[in-house]
Structure formats: C-alpha cells, structure tokens
Amino acid sequence: MGASAPQKDRDGLCFFGQISAAISHDLKNVLAIINEDAGLLQDFSLMAAQGMELDPPRLVKLAEKIQGQVKRGDGIIKNMNRFAHSVDLPVCDVNFRELTGLVISLLTRIASRKCVTVTLKEGEQVNGKGDPFTIQMLIAKALEYSMDSAGRDGELDIELSSADGVNVLTISGLSEAIPEEQLAELESISVKAGGKPAYVPQDNILIFKF
C-alpha cells in the first residue's frame, strides 16, 4: 500500500465525519425542541392539577409542533441513511440531480452558518456511472468553497445539464476568486470522481464535467 492510500481514505473519512457531525447537530436541535414542547405539556398538566384551566387550542398547537419536529427529524435521518449507503458500491448508476439535492440538504447547516442560500435549479434528469460517495464529496467541497467565495448573504445557483454524453454541473454566484490550493484540491477529488473541473473567473462560475 502506497503512502497516499491512507491519506485518500482519511479524506473520505474526514468528509464522512463532517457530514455526520452536522447531522447529529440537527438531530440534537430537533430533540431539544421536542424536549421543550413536551416539557410545556408537562408544565400545563401540573398547573391543571393545581386548578388552572387548560387551553385545548394551545395543547393542539403544541402537539402539532412536536409532530412537525418528528417529521423534520425523519427527513434528516432519511438523508443520513442515503448518505451512509452511498459507500455501498464503488461504481454504480448515479442520478446526479438526486445526489446534488442530497448534498445541498446535508450542507444546510453549513450554508446557514455562512449566511449563503443554495438553490438547485429545475431541469432534466442527469444520469451516469460513478462513485456516489466521491461525487458527493466533490460537490460538497465545491459548494463549501463557493459559499466562502460568495460571502455573507450570497446566493449560489446550481444547474445540471447533459449534452453529447457529457454531464455538466455548474455553480454560479461566486464573487471572490477561489484560492489556488482549493482549486487544486477540487481537481484532485474530481479525478477520483471521474470528472473534470473548470473555474471561469470572469463569469464567477465553477464547472464540473462528468
């Protein structure tokens, strides 16, 4: 085994860890809200036992809030499950639109912390073959660096298209130039993902061709 092999594994592991940490944070928030709402129901019950009149619409609202959080938690866990299964096969049929949507969802917290809005534009289905995990890692890294470039209150648009057997993913809305070392890192992941990256500074866009 060469010296670069453990490093390659570690890059993937770091990405897996980063996403898992963001998921655990979101789930903690969901649990914290359910905890407070359930606590309020308990407080009201104790007060009712002491003679306070219960307000049924208020109780219904609290129950709806809890149900809403359970739904939110379920969505997070579904995404976590899809992400975890992306390491099952090294190469398989890839739905790029679905995969990009998943990465955007997984990076919601990071985007929110950086105050950047990410939108996946409507369009055709884009399919191909590849390693889903590495492609996700590439999209996530590209998005993170694009968020830094877009800056606070920035808006990134992602477009997917397909022509003559080539799939193209475009990130627009960048503002500052992406540093050389970050471009080199994207290039390196892109090679593993079977793609070719291009940065067009005058248009402030990042392009990946698969």
């Binding site: 655990s24 903690k28 914290a32 809200i33 359910i34 905890n35 709402d37 606590g39 929110s112 105050c115």
Partner: protein, 142 residues
C-alpha cells in the same frame, strides 16, 4: 427577585418553548434568534444570565462570548449547544463562560445554573460598587 435572562439561539421554536417554560418558573426572559440583535441588546441593557447557542448563522457562540466578556464582563454566560465538544467547552470556559450545557437541556439543571449566575453577577456588581465607593472616599476631602 426575578432573574433577568437573555436567551440566544437561531432555532425559533426552541427559543419560544424554552422562554415560555422559563417564564412559567418566574424568570424575566428576552428571547433572540438573531445573534447581532442579541449583542445589541447586551450593549443596551443588563442581564443576570445569558443562555447562548454555540453555533449560529453569521456569528458563532465563541465570537459572541468574546464580545460579551469584553463589553459587559459582569454578565454571566451559559453556553448551550447541540454540538458539545470537550475542546469547545474548555475554550468557552477559558474565555469566561460560567458553564456549558448540552442540548436537550434539563430545565431544572438550567434553572439552577441561571440562579447561580444571578448570584455571581450580584457579587461582582457589589464588589465593583464597593471599589467605586472606596475610590470616591479616598479622593474626596471629607
């Protein structure tokens, strides 16, 4: 005396629920989901305890803590996070946070910490007032 608390967290539903429960326990709570607005409130008025989320959009909890300790060192900060790590906890304590609580928080534990924060702040304010009085007495000729 009712504890005056500033609650800062970007999760609106969490802030609403916790604030209501704290108010039911006799506290005077100001809730804020925008970290910059919260820091403006810190600059404008006094609080016995500030319950502060560690990760928020724009300004993170550590940055907010640094600002609070620099501008209003007497205010006691309890960091609240869903992302508790030992390093972050140690960093926060070194920067002057009074305590660190992991989400989901136990309301009784949090209430207890808020009461301790109020007592600690009162001691600091009393000490400061005592020093001011001493200073005035030593400079005046009566």
């Amino acid at each position: 005396m009712a504890e005056k608390v500033l609650l800062i967290d970007d999760e609106k539903e969490f802030v609403e629920g916790l604030a209501e429960r704290m108010e039911l326990r006799g506290m005077n709570v100001t809730a804020c989901t925008n970290p910059q607005e919260a820091l403006d409130k810190v600059d404008a008025e006094s609080f016995d305890a500030i319950v502060l989320d560690l990760q928020m959009p724009g300004i993170d909890g550590i940055e907010a803590l640094k600002h609070i300790k620099k501008t209003r060192p007497e205010m006691q900060v309890i960091l609240l996070s869903g992302h508790a790590t030992v390093e972050k906890g140690i960093e926060a304590m070194k920067l002057g946070a009074m305590d660190f609580v992991e989400k989901p928080a136990d309301i009784n534990v949090l209430t207890d910490k808020i009461k301790k924060a109020q007592a600690k702040k009162m001691i600091i304010v009393e000490e400061k007032t005592g020093e001011k009085v001493k200073d005035i007495l030593s400079h005046k000729g009566w």
